[in-house]
Symmetry: C2
Subunit: 395 residues, 2 copies
């Protein structure tokens, strides 16, 4: 007696997760070394050594009741203070510790924000292509996701279309920068235009529209590209951050929300977020990982490893005839399908044991996503398979 809403979800179960499970099955059949799984955004670079060192130090020096016990639903005050200070130092912002709420990853953080803002029938806008889970997150609260079509070939968000999509039910806009699945970094100019449009719309509809900035890939950029810091461009912005990619800790579920003092309804927003964190059943972000994060805020992942993968894969696939968006951030390559129906392309790729994600699941049919957070060795080994795939389409 599953709910109707869950039945719907089961029908359209995450293509990415399904591929992940399929890949595990395929590996059992043909051997793990013969499956080229580019489906999941699971970091291939180990966590920095400082992570383990910090955990051991905390277990050794701190009281068990402190390390593993309850704290305020928003997190340890000293951890929130450390995160605020670190952001302020790095980005010249003025976050208070009260404005930081530790969360169960960015996925947890986004749900917390949506639970706080949405009543049934409300609307959230996002720009295609987008991480498909946003739709599910919004549906959790009986609200609607409104999607603005993709904007190839730059894949900068089509902010000009935003004004006409905003209604009185619009509560939030989700953006994801650097973008999953395109790897594109949204420019400061795009964000400034976005802010102008939002300001005018807020005036018109009479209530704030929050930009929820999902930024697990903030630290993963290449070629010296700078990711504009969101709250410097958008006043009503709530940042959802995760250490999943920047410290290679996706399984640990640790991240934070950051709300700038300048945001409308700052105080009640913070109170609502803490309550949402509790009533959704997160209660608080995992305690030991919170304390670890305080020690590791200046740690960095090995971006050079991803960069090496990016360059090799991008150049190789272009040489074979594939049309690729040049990724500036994250660890995804966005490739145009040689045939209109990219699901047929994905099925063909699977015959060569290449697992790619059809971009229909990102609201952008006709493209596929290749996650290059894998070993360089696997990418090299996959080349004959990609060549054989190119043969099918380009002769």
């Amino acid at each position: 007696m599953i709910s109707k809403s869950m039945e719907q979800l089961m029908k359209g179960n995450s293509v990415i997760r399904a591929l992940f499970e399929e890949g595990k099955e395929m590996a059992k059949e043909v051997g793990a070394e013969n499956v080229y799984d580019f489906s999941l955004g699971n970091p291939s670079v180990p966590a920095p050594e400082a992570v383990g060192t910090a955990i051991k130090k905390i277990l050794k020096n701190e009281n068990s009741l402190y390390v593993h016990g309850y704290m305020s639903n928003a997190g340890y005050e000293e951890v929130r203070e450390a995160v605020a200070q670190n952001l302020n130092q790095r980005f010249g912002t003025d976050f208070e510790w009260e404005g930081i709420l530790m969360t169960v990853g960015a996925a947890g953080g986004l749900n917390v924000v949506l639970r706080t803002l949405l009543d049934p029938g409300d609307e959230v806008i996002c720009f295609a292509p987008f991480f498909g889970e946003y739709r599910n997150y919004v549906h959790n609260y009986q609200a609607n996701l409104v999607v603005i079509p993709p904007n190839p070939p730059s894949f900068q968000p089509n902010v000009d279309m935003l004004a006409e999509m905003i209604t009185e039910r619009t509560k939030a806009v989700i953006i994801n920068n650097p973008n999953n699945p395109t790897g594109v970094v949204y420019s400061a100019e795009t964000l400034d235009r976005l802010e102008v449009i939002l300001k005018a719309a807020e005036e018109r509809i009479g209530h704030p529209i929050y930009v929820i900035s999902d930024e697990p890939y903030r630290e993963l950029v290449y070629d010296g590209v700078e990711v504009p810091f969101m709250t410097k461009h958008i006043r009503n912005c709530i940042i959802g951050y995760s250490f999943s990619k920047s410290l290679s800790l996706p399984g640990e579920r640790i991240g934070y929300l950051a709300v700038p003092k300048a945001a409308d309804d700052y105080e009640s927003l913070l109170e609502g977020l803490a309550i949402a964190n509790r009533v959704l059943g997160f209660v608080n972000a995992p305690s030991l990982q919170q304390l670890m994060i305080r020690e590791c805020l200046n740690e960095q992942t090995d971006v050079a490893a991803y960069d090496k993968n990016r360059k090799f894969l991008y150049e190789s696939l272009k040489d074979m005839g594939f049309e690729c968006v040049k990724p500036e951030g994250a660890f995804y390559l966005f490739v145009k399908s040689p045939v209109a129906d990219e699901k047929a392309f994905v099925a063909e790729a699977k015959k060569h044991h290449l697992l790619l994600v059809p971009a229909s699941s990102f609201g952008c049919p006709g493209y596929v996503r290749i996650a290059y957070c894998v070993s360089y060795d696997m990418i090299k080994r996959s080349m004959p398979a990609f060549k054989a795939l190119a043969e099918v389409y380009f002769g």
Copy 2:
């Protein structure tokens, strides 16, 4: 621009959490040693040493990508297998590893079950007194909580009233055994009667009604009392377990759901639960803690310490003239307020720096909850305050 539903929540913000915050403030004013905070179910016994040992061992021996990376949304297969085997050995059950889903504590697990079962307008039944968060969990999914009144002085659930409360919209019954806030253990006889009533109702309304068994206190029982193992009495039962109390890890957010093979719609239920875990933003239970749990399934907390607190507090308060329910499990003492309005009693107690929880928040006005998961020393130090409080009412 908080949602209307969140505005409601903010008005009735958790009394328990509010007390917790108030206690911290009071401690700053009069000194922590002069505040007798009995408000929160935060274990006072440190986690077993094996927890830290296991974590260090895992960090030393295992690959970082395995320890901190993504796994299936339902958790590591090897951890689920270990949990299933452990339950089967201890309770003579026949759980499969597929029937175990690792969760972000029991609060996370309960939300996962409700997200899977509920459409807006559906109904969930529970027996007062009950953990007040159940109402919020059910409201997250726009469903309604139907409360069956308390049954003093035994505080066994009033199952005889259940049949008439079940409608076609009834999807689940939540029970909590041993019970928070009463400390009462539901008997096998009660559960068997519950099952008979549910069977008849399922036949009548034509679909399963799942009993969601919230059992973080399963291991915390005294005087040799046995907690009946739920799935042996109720076929359509989903267990929500947490290691928060049994291993003193409330901040870590680690627990599991256990679904017996015999449950209706077993396969689709498991698929739905894994999807709900993902779309609610948990994604998976914290990875390092999952791996730790596998090593610590036979570890036990120091129940004797709680038992010492229980006996001393129960006897002392009875001697002073208070009417108390004798607790057989959990770490709560349920005390009848000397005046009808227990909030006035709680306010009076606060003057003596005693923080108690009014049981209105558990659907049982006229009583208060005293959490004795505190140091024995604090209980001893609080005696003059309790005596002064008794003076107010009993002269």
